[in-house]
């Protein structure tokens, strides 16, 4: 039987069907978890820029998120809104673009004045560990806290290490020139776009 030409075809078919069905079954089984992991990473990122995520376990992130963050609407120019006691406390602007290896996605938090930065965080990046991936480090991200974005020209500027810093400038990471350059480009694109939309609202 094993010498027959159809044997190889039938054999391959049976083996493939067997292994694929296990993989499909397992993927279905973990699908919910994988998606909720992604969602939690995003929500944690939004909370982080407003300093709301410290010490919150993964299981409670969603609860805190629902409590204090309002979904984007027309009035917020597409940004998530941090609301406390019915007052708008800040805006979480989504920033996303090309990194050195793969897309980087993150959140830039701004106060209700739309100028003061409350923080920055990333929920998806695949930069070189030890170099570009340092954008996730506290040392790099803390630089953004309290910066005031410029309303003329580029909102935020990333400068080489050692340069003197202005009100809207932060230091890059040495050894991660490309990551920082690209990061600077898409932060500015996304923030400018959002500012444009908000300015449009104010004129109405």
């Amino acid at each position: 039987m094993r010498d027959k030409p159809w044997y190889a075809v039938v054999y391959m078919f049976v083996v493939t069907a067997f292994f694929s069905s296990i993989v499909i079954g397992f993927a279905e089984f973990t699908k919910g978890r994988v998606e909720s992991n992604k969602r939690i990473a995003f929500e944690r990122s939004v909370l982080e820029v407003f300093g709301l995520s410290a010490g919150v376990p993964a299981g409670r992130i969603h609860e805190v998120f629902v409590e204090s963050i309002r979904e984007p609407d027309d009035d917020s120019g597409g940004a998530y809104v941090y609301v406390k006691d019915d007052d708008v406390k800040g805006y979480a602007v989504e920033i996303a673009g090309k990194g050195f290896w793969a897309p980087i996605k993150g959140i830039l938090g701004l106060k209700a004045d739309k100028e003061t930065v409350t923080g920055i965080s990333f929920y998806e990046q695949n930069e070189t560990p030890g170099l570009g991936a340092q954008i996730e480090s506290d040392a790099f991200r803390e630089q953004f806290d309290g910066k005031r974005i410029s309303l003329s020209g580029d909102p935020l500027i990333i400068k080489p290490v050692g340069a003197e810093l202005g009100d809207n400038e932060v230091h890059a990471i040495s050894g991660a020139t490309q990551t920082c350059r690209r990061l600077g480009v898409f932060i500015n694109e996304d923030v400018s776009k959002w500012l444009g939309e908000m300015a449009g609202k104010a004129d109405d």
Partner: protein, 207 residues
């Protein structure tokens, strides 16, 4: 190294996998992942565990099916089996350890194309009994792992002054960090030096 039909002692399989026929510094296989994931020890560790699991189970499965698999399509079957285990590992990481999954990025999926696994399936598991194949896969995995871990310890220590993210005395302070060690070129230097060292040992043994 595995003549058909002859049983091979477990001890020889273990010694070959770890040293005598080490997949990395003897056969120089699986180099892409050796270069790519060795800049931080933790990533390397997870990669090594994943690869060793996939390799052991793939070798076992290939060996179990060896008497039914037609010779002319054996490689297709091997790739299918390896891919099956890799996807399972990838899904487990995505579902239960999302941070690590995003650290390793595409490299978990690329275990499928790691030549060591297919090499062992083809050279050993396809011709030998299941238990021997499992041992062979496992110890070749360990042989790969110990080399990768050695490289990653040096790279992380010299490049970032830490090991497993923990600051090391001297290296995190006085040591001027060699950033090139955590960048891709550093991997080439580290691997080359290690292959050199390992092979010179072998020469002294005169084996």
């Amino acid at each position: 190294m595995s003549p058909n039909g002859r049983t091979i002692a477990g001890r020889d399989i273990i010694r070959d996998g770890l040293w005598g026929n080490n997949p990395v510094f003897r056969q120089v296989l699986g180099i892409c992942s050796t270069l790519a994931v060795t800049n931080v020890v933790l990533n390397t560790l997870v990669m090594c565990v994943s690869l060793t699991c996939v390799m052991s189970l793939s070798c076992l499965t290939v060996s179990l099916l060896r008497n039914w698999t037609p010779r002319n399509i054996r490689m297709m079957v091997q790739v299918l089996i390896i891919a099956f285990y890799v996807i399972i590992v990838d899904l487990i990481l995505k579902a239960y350890w999302p941070d690590m999954s995003s650290n390793l990025g595409p490299y978990v999926g690329l275990i499928i194309t790691n030549c060591i696994i297919m090499g062992r399936c083809e050279a050993f598991a396809g011709l030998n009994k299941p238990v021997a194949s499992l041992i062979d896969g496992f110890f070749n995995g360990l042989g790969y792992s110990f080399l990768l871990l050695t490289i990653s310890v040096f790279r992380e220590l010299m490049g970032m002054g830490t090991i497993l993210g923990i600051e090391m005395p001297y290296f995190s302070g006085i040591w001027d960090k060699w950033i090139i060690m955590v960048m891709p070129p550093g991997a080439f230097f580290a691997l080359a030096c290690l292959i050199w060292v390992c092979r010179s040992f072998k020469a002294k043994e005169g084996a």
